[in-house]
């Protein structure tokens, strides 16, 4: 089993996540798509770690998971505040800082 199938799968997952990030309206789904993209990158890190026989790829994945946990916690807190102040989960309704 070579590296290429894993890289192609990782790219597919990343593109699906990026597509969802752009087209979805619900804030929580947008955050889920970010998690999907992080996982796609993790998969390619582990594949490279196995291919190059280096443990550093797994350590990077470990650190990415910590960052993802922190990001999910802060993002969900922001979503709760958004819902509390605006009564909406629609990203298009939270555009005060857009222009």
């Amino acid at each position: 089993m070579g590296l290429s199938p894993y890289l192609i799968l990782s790219t597919l997952l990343f593109v699906i996540g990026a597509t969802g990030f752009v087209i979805k309206k619900n804030v929580i789904t947008v955050l889920l798509c970010v998690e999907l993209m992080l996982n796609a990158v993790n998969l390619s890190f582990v594949a490279f770690a196995r291919q190059l026989n280096q443990v550093e790829g797994q350590i990077i994945v470990f650190l990415v998971m910590v960052v993802a946990a922190a990001e999910a916690a802060v993002g969900l807190a922001i979503i709760i505040v958004l819902y509390r102040t605006r009564r909406t989960l629609n990203v298009d309704d939270a555009d005060t800082m857009k222009w």
């Binding site: 290429s4 999907l36 916690a73």
Partner: protein
């Protein structure tokens, strides 16, 4: 070859789950679908001989982070029951087209990766994948980044408390 069969089964499951995350109208079904996808990615980590990362994936990602999402959906229930219409249809098709073009541009690069030219550490023992070796490297060479992540977690905890509290 059992490893190849394993890879294709779980790659198909993770791809279907990822598509379902984007395709579902209700956010709760998207979350459940992402949990399935994360678990199948954990199975892919097993085919890559990384049992520690696979375990962490199931416990931390599918276990802790996704439960956090489900809790928030439960807290915001009245709105998550209703479905939000997606953005303009034309934008959706444009983005899908861009994704396909991106894949088409990347495909030759990804499929022609030549491992023979990569710097492989073949002198390392096969025990490189063991949890023992991973821990040894993590707590010696990468001790500083590991400690900095604890500061990051602390900052995240304080930030979440500050954000979620009604009155400071």
């Amino acid at each position: 070859m059992i490893e190849t069969a394993f890879f294709y089964i779980f790659a198909a499951i993770s791809l279907l789950a990822a598509v379902n995350v984007v395709a579902q109208k209700k956010v709760f079904y998207s979350t459940l679908s992402l949990i399935i996808g994360l678990c199948s990615i954990a199975a892919l980590y097993l085919t890559l001989e990384s049992p520690f990362i696979a375990t962490i994936q199931v416990i931390v990602y599918a276990g802790a982070i996704m439960v956090l999402f489900v809790f928030v959906i439960m807290l915001l229930d009245p709105f998550s029951a209703a479905t939000l219409q997606d953005k303009k249809k034309s934008l959706k098709y444009l983005v899908v087209l861009l994704g396909v073009l991106f894949l088409a541009a990347l495909y030759p690069v990804l499929s022609s990766y030549n491992p023979a030219r990569a710097p492989r550490n073949l002198d390392l023992p096969k025990a490189t994948y063991s949890v023992q070796y991973l821990g040894k490297v993590l707590f010696s060479d990468y001790l500083a980044p590991f400690e900095i992540t604890s500061v990051l977690i602390l900052v995240a905890i304080i930030g979440v408390v500050v954000l979620a509290k009604r009155k400071l």
